[in-house]
Symmetry: C2
Subunit: 185 residues, 2 copies
């Protein structure tokens, strides 16, 4: 069943990405699309909403993202673990990953790259700075639009530890009372 | 009681950092030391072992790290949550954070910056590339030496979600059987 998603403030995507989940990065260029599994990302700024991603140049997605200057960062929940692993272990030059893994491409509003319907959240991104692609495979993206499923408020996420092992997210604890109000972002 | 730590391969620090835990970054420059709480980091390369960290220029640590070209990335476990929050909510220009939070500085082997004895792991880092500090506050560090506590094999870690809320790490699941052997790093 399709998830009902609402628009989410792009300056708050840290709520989902700063805890460090594995994500699925979808891209499209000249009629080709692809999905890759990605663990090397970080929040870099609130406004503009910047996310740094390291995409190995050995990946088919590297060229699609560099050429189109776009992608969608999709947040899978823990129920998608086998799809996440499968996507990371086959090549987009040989497999249509949407079709092979039964994923539904959804139309984004600000980019041509397809969103993955089944994911908990979709962050539409435009390449903001390509200066570090050559030296480090580092893409700095701006999140243009964020879509988040209405339920659950907090999905169980996957956090890659290497060697085929994933840490699952656990419960959350609240320490707001110990923060200065200016630090609560 | 001091933790017994062993040396750990620097090319494998992803095991601890890729899941996205909050870390404590310690630094030293000309007799001043400091600690900051940091959530904006990512693995960038296995060999050399590179970690990207965004350190706001508003932090006292920014100058200590830039001037010394060094730091230690320390991994606190969940029992240290109130210290982690406290460190992030006071200024190193006003408080000696080691003293104030009862933390023990330990001597590193490859850098002058102090390691935090109470943390589960300590990663000694040298600034590898400063080209993106000006534009993005992005420091690219090389991990020179890694020290990891013998027990537990997997500490409970803290993952910051913003607004004073932390996700705790949960259990791990193994999907090695679904990986191509070349992907098992």
């Amino acid at each position: 069943m399709p998830k009902t998603k609402h628009s989410f403030p792009v300056s708050n995507v840290r709520h989902f990405l700063e805890p460090g989940p594995i994500v699925l990065l979808s891209s499209q260029w000249q009629g080709q699309h692809n999905i890759m599994t990605l663990g090397w990302h970080m929040v870099m700024e609130f406004t503009p909403s910047l996310i740094g991603c390291v995409i190995s140049s050995a990946n088919h997605s590297f060229d699609l993202v560099r050429n189109s200057g776009e992608c969608v960062i999709n947040l899978p929940d823990a129920s998608m673990v086998d799809v996440v692993v499968g996507i990371g272990n086959c090549r987009g030059t040989e497999v249509d990953k949407f079709e092979h893994f039964g994923l539904t491409p959804a139309t984004a509003s600000s980019v041509q790259a397809p969103m993955i319907e089944q994911c908990h959240a979709n962050f539409e991104c435009r390449l903001h700075d390509d200066a570090m692609i050559e030296g480090y495979n580092l893409f700095i993206f701006e999140v243009l639009k964020a879509h988040v499923a209405e339920r659950p408020a907090q999905p169980e996420t996957l956090h890659y530890q290497g060697m085929g092992q994933f840490m699952l997210s656990g419960k959350s604890i609240d320490r707001r009372r110990l923060f200065k109000s200016s630090m609560l972002t």
